[in-house]
């Protein structure tokens, strides 16, 4: 992630494979073969195994006994369930940020600027990166070990849904910017009811677009 210390080799492999899963280049339910990945990236099989464990924590890979690593499903029920959980975790997370005695909005405002220029340029990849950085700005200031670990684990799965939703013709990149602007304001205002309302509505909207695409491709 952009805000962390230089990543270890294992983290780099996990980020590389994770980006492929989030962007859909590695399809849901496809197998990831350790030896093949190790060969193509020129790394040891052990490093790939460790990367797969990191991807399991990020909800992007399932490690099945005797079957190995499989990219996690992306189906309507899984999308809804993921976003429902992510909503609860984000509500806790941004509620805690709102409760900080000294909340510094500056790093979040920088992310909003990145988001605004991504919207301007219709750059979906940059928009996702700015979203990740927005959450990351909270993770670095919040001293909540368990909550940040769970959020860091769920975010990649959430970004995968967001990536899919962003390909829907009705998707409007400006919604994402508006949501994050309103969310930052609600955090600054310490308005917990508004935080819940905003996160719930935004995740529901993205989930609906993603599910519509999944159902259309299943029917095709």
């Amino acid at each position: 992630m952009v805000f962390a210390a230089p990543a270890s080799l294992t983290e780099q492999i996990a980020d590389h494979l994770g980006a492929d899963i989030i962007a859909g280049r590695l399809a849901p339910r496809s197998r990831i073969q350790e030896l093949k990945v190790a060969g193509s990236l020129g790394v040891s099989r052990g490093s790939v195994r460790e990367a797969l464990l990191i991807l399991e924590r990020r909800h992007l890979v399932e490690l099945l006994p005797r079957r190995g690593a499989v990219v996690t499903r992306l189906e309507p029920t899984a999308v809804c369930e993921c976003l429902e959980l992510l909503t609860e975790v984000q509500v806790l997370f941004f509620g805690k940020l709102a409760g900080l005695r000294r909340f510094d909005a500056t790093p979040f405002e920088s992310c909003l600027e990145l988001m605004a220029s991504a919207v301007q340029n219709q750059d979906r990849a940059a928009l996702l990166e700015a979203r990740r950085a927005f959450a990351g700005a909270g993770i670095t200031v919040l001293n909540s070990f368990h909550l940040t670990a769970v959020l860091e684990g769920l975010l990649p799965a959430g970004l995968r849904v967001a990536h899919l939703a962003a390909t829907h013709p009705e998707y409007d990149l400006r919604d994402c910017l508006r949501f994050h602007q309103a969310l930052l304001k609600a955090v600054v205002d310490q308005d917990r009811a508004r935080i819940r309302e905003l996160i719930g509505a935004f995740n529901t909207r993205e989930g609906k677009l993603a599910v519509a695409l999944l159902e259309a491709s299943a029917a095709a």
Copy 2:
């Protein structure tokens, strides 16, 4: 876990170290040295590294750049934060169980019987094991990939707090049995408000006992 397929070597190492952390035999903040563990268990260093990644997902170990694996903190703020998050996740989880079209209480009742005999024998270890099995019975029937993954990750940290709380002189093993009995009834009755109330109250009570012990030992 008792309800899973035969564990891989990596899982066995993770379970072994995890049990030591939960029971306090490996102290909070202590370092876990890969080579030492590999030597004492007669396994490869790679297997230990993989086990540490599993323990990180279980919130029992932190992997720090250039410092290696460290047992996670167990301090009042971390305990409260962990239980607050666990409460939200458990409320979602048991709420979903309550929503199942066909909910079979039988496996949960078997766990309650194990719990009752653990209480009878004042066997705290058996009580913890039965608690784990109670949650596990839900994990096996609930088709919620993300939620069960997060709950499986958080449960060991929750059991670690429970293990500590159980050493408090005011701890009453019967509370744990009564809570699980009432929780199962609330699930069968599909009473979501009661589910939230029960889980919140039980986790708060255990958290208070654990925090009291931590504060007493910090003051000593």
